[in-house]
Amino acid sequence: MEAILAECVRDNLRHFVHRNAIFMCERLCAEFPSETNLQLLATCYLQNNQAHCAYQILKGAHMAQCRYLFALSCFQMDLLTEAEAALSPSDSSTEVPNGAAGHYLLGLIFRYTDRRESAIHHFNQALALDPLLWTAYEELCILGAAEEATKVFDEGASLCIQKQYLHIALYSQNMRESGEDHDIASSRNLGSSDDSTRQLQTQGNGQRDISRNNHGAPSSQPLNCGSAGLPFYNTPSPMATQSQLSGVAPPPLLRNAQPNGPNVRAFVADNSPRQTVNPTIPGPRRKFVDEGKLRKVSERLFSDSGQRRSMRLAGESVVNTNSFLSVSGNGTSHSSKFLGGSKLTSVASRSFTYRKGQSWTNENAEEGIHHEVHDDSRSSIAATNSSQSVDSRLLEEEGLSRSSGAATLSCSRYNDGASEILSILRFLGDGFRLSCLSRCKDALDVYIRLPQKHYNTGWVLSQVGKAYFEMVDYLEADRAFTLARIASPYSLEGMDIYSTVLYHLKEDMKLSYLAQELVATDRLAPQSWCAMGNCYSLQKDHETALKNFQRSVQLNSRFAYAHTLCGHEHVSLEDFENGIKSYHSALMVDSRHYNAWYGLGMIYLRQEKFEFSEHHFRMAFRINPLSSVIMSYLGTALHALKKNNEALEMMERAILADKKNPLPLYQKANILVSMENLDGALAVLEELKEYAPCESSVYALMGRIYKRRNMHDKAMLHFGLALDLKPSATDVAAIKAAIEKLHVPDELEDDL
């Protein structure tokens, strides 16, 4: 009875029938109370977004997987101390459960409790255990402590992956053998070469034992669910959608008979940002590197196979399921587009889905050969494709792979696969690391070297957009983001930055369209409301904008940019206290969010607290040393502190940093005026006039300088030009007053 119930529950989970799963599981726990079953129940709750239930039932659990799930629930409920205690209890003899995933979760906990060093340590551990745990690398980049991608995603990592795959392959073979895909197996075997069949069978035998062992293993299905939870957590991170998807590493499936590098990776397909529950079941992260964790892996695969079974039952083609399971070329076969054996060879890494609906293969088909595991858009596309087409294609592939197959499980194939994945990851990792360090040009250079099919994906394109945004090249950023929208219209990753780009470009039509689309796509994503807020802010309706940004904060309080935008709106409404609070909240989430440092600097500048202002601008400058805007404001603050020479030096750097930025030149002129170097100032302004001929304040300042030099004609001319360029009402008044006073030089000048 226990076995039936457990299987039923897992089945339901695979099909997302959560209520039934929970109900059945509760009966199971009532009948056979045990930690294993509690784990299963917790999994059901977590899948159904009921972390508090999981929290309650797992209190005091001891098994590794239980502790992991408990920590996950605590994390979701923001009980970070308990989460930490569960994962690494004071008696340090117990190791972190779940290997890489456990370390990753610990890293997140440490990050959000402000213990940066420990967080970095754990993320590094996680990456060492599972080099394909991209989100750990992302977090390291965000913390500013990532090593170069070439060091992380290197040969050692390759070996790691291969080991993982080996285990999975054996396991999946066993799964196959264990009867679910009986007919599939036979049909498949028909086609496959003798060698592979034999191999499969032998491996299968071994696997069967393992799987049976796993059946009872404590680290069972909940593992999957556990990993499911993680993508859940990835949502809060700034790279929300992306991390979520990347967080779910599909169980690698080894294909023996595949001529190509197998590195099959099953993805949890529909990792749509809000459906955190779904993805995990089938494609939990691959966290199991160690031999000792083989059982866990197997268990997971077992659940996957169960899934597959249900898939079959649901009417999918038998072969399809089989192909998922079969080691002999499943991996490639999943990529539906590989109809030709030759094509198979070229595929290095393949993302797979076990479950129906996980049409990763479809994605493969679309995108071509290489699938980057962490490709956001790919997963999304996969999810949307029907499995039917996959099935048929898989069938063909199966046949092909079988016939083509090199029978033996060749390590070289895994090697190839692993290294190909890693090569992609190296690019992406490097690009991301560089853009986190604000070295945007370098990051762009790295991204451009990606193969075309990877470049044209939502994630990469929005990273490119972000890089241009930081370089204040809003037109290019707009272009990149538009392409990203075309590539993955459902993805919200980076769309908050896109809305800011449109805000800067004053494209109110595009911005309102974007905002509406985003809200329609996902009302619960912070990015949608950020875009909406930007829309209102552009129309100067700061109160409504603030409301929208606050909504965004409510949806995800770990989304630093929402806090910063709230801060900007508070400042526009002249509410400096709340502005400061918002900026501080942003910095608590991400202390390298230089926009918040900048915002604080601006507030203090306004309040004339120049030393504070200088400090904050300097912090921003340290984080982003290439931004000419920050440099020019730092210079302004120094000027206000009367440190004119330092100010001038900073302005020079700003001018060099970005030739297109006119502000440092203008500020330089200002500083020169206050240093009584009127001629120098005039020279600078003449140069500036060439560059920005329509800027009223340039002429106004020149007029003022000429007035001080008593060159009244020139002053008059420039004031006139300034007025022609329609300055603001205050300035009109000031300039007109100045003109009046031109002919009364001994009168005291008040506002000039």
Partner: protein, 191 residues
């Protein structure tokens, strides 16, 4: 002390817009100010002047002149006062002669503008600027709008809405002038 032009300025205003249209570089200044009135009928108090609802009105209940006092927390630059009054609806309650005074407080208010309304039918714009460009703005702690007389010699008055506008401050602090061109504006903020 408020800056003001000497003496009174006579001006007759007729008509009135149904739509409130104000320059982009003006912002409403009195959201955080303290509003009070010299007298009111219960149910038609000072709140109706600021509720953005043209159906509700303030009705005075005492002797003329009827006063609307606006006190700011700090000295502000003001440029424009806009009132919504409607002869068709309010007839003898419609204000006819309005005087606007400014100062530091009740003790030193000085008149800066007088207007006469002739059968107004909507938003009436009263500019506070003098002829001198140096007097575009009135820099003051307090503004008082006095209704000196009504149409058809009515005793009490109805005013449906009042808004006070001043210049927007420079979004970039510590600058001598505001920026006008896109290049400057783009590079002047980090969002």
């Amino acid at each position: 002390m408020a800056d003001s032009s000497e003496g009174e300025e006579e001006g007759k205003l007729t008509g009135g817009n149904q739509e409130l249209v104000v320059d982009e570089d003006l912002q409403e200044m009195a959201k955080k100010a303290a509003w009070s009135v010299s007298s009111c009928k219960p149910g038609n108090g000072v709140f109706s002047l600021r509720d953005d609802n043209l159906e509700t009105y303030w009705q005075s209940d005492g002797a003329q002149p009827h006063l609307v006092n606006i006190q700011f927390q700090k000295k502000v630059k003001l440029q424009l006062v806009v009132l919504y009054v409607d002869f068709k609806l309010d007839e003898s309650y419609t204000p006819s002669k309005i005087s606007i005074r400014a100062g530091d407080g009740f003790h030193n208010l000085k008149e800066i503008k007088t207007v006469e309304l002739v059968k107004p039918t909507g938003w009436v714009y009263v500019s506070l600027s003098g002829s001198d460009p140096r007097e575009t703005f009135v820099n003051t702690f307090m503004l008082q709008i006095a209704v000196l007389s009504n149409h058809l010699n009515g005793r009490d008055t109805h005013v449906r809405q009042v808004k006070v506008y001043g210049p927007r401050p420079n979004p970039i602090p510590h600058q001598p002038f505001q920026f006008t061109s896109t290049e400057f504006i783009t590079y002047s903020i980090l969002r």
